[in-house]
Amino acid sequence: MDVNQKEYDYDEIIKFTGAGGELDQVLSKLQSRLKKLREKINECEPLFHGKGNTSSIYKCYKELYDKIGTDSASGTMWFNTKNSYDLINLMNTNAVSDKNKDF
């Protein structure tokens, strides 16, 4: 048995980080809720808004959208969701690679 095999249970990590695993499920939920939140804000805007782009209400909505952000906008929710997605994939890839080295 390679020393790597003693470090962790590959199959457990592959399952935990793989499609349908615990981390995939929580990240999927988070993404779905971020989308729903954006949609709800979108639906709220026509019902309650100020005039133009200098009103305090507009600024609140802008802050909400800015914090949700995109995966290319550093420091936003989506940027960090992407980081989390990349990390999960990396852990999965490394676990598969470590397992293959031993067989």
Binding site: Y8, D24, L27, Q31, K36, F48, K51, I68, I88, N89
Partner: protein, 133 residues
């Protein structure tokens, strides 16, 4: 690298911008009304807070169980800290929308007494928001 986890590329890259309007509007009638929407927004924010806690717990499980995963710890901590700060900022901005709605109702109540019940509900939303902050 394997791409095993689900990722909504369309939503992730979507440019999210506030809309501009010609006039002030407070519509408590159509499409479920403002209060209904604000309440739904609050629920989503709380759901997202719970998701971040679950993600943090899952990361800790890995790090605590296997020393090998301590290499990922600083990245995990940064993700969770930034997400937590973001959702707190989202909650504050949401609270400001509710406060602004409350101010608007206060100003319009002298001409429309039916808005009194909206004010009660907005105050309840504000109180809930301050509890979750």
């Amino acid at each position: 690298m394997n791409e095993v986890a689900y990722y909504d590329k369309g939503e992730a890259s979507l440019d999210k911008q506030a809309k501009t309007f010609q006039n002030f509007t407070y519509d408590n009638q159509s499409n479920g009304g403002v209060l209904n929407k604000l309440s739904e927004i609050e629920k989503k924010i709380n759901d997202i807070k719970n998701d971040i806690q679950t993600l943090s717990g899952d990361y800790n499980t890995l790090v605590n169980k296997y020393e090998k995963f301590s290499n990922y710890k600083s990245v995990m901590n940064k993700i969770i800290t930034t997400m937590t700060n973001n959702v707190d900022a989202i909650n504050r901005s949401y609270g400001n929308v509710v406060k602004t709605a409350t101010q608007a109702i206060n100003e319009h109540m002298s001409t429309d007494s039916t808005l009194m019940s909206d004010l009660d509900q907005l105050n309840r939303l504000l109180a809930n928001g301050s509890k979750t902050n």
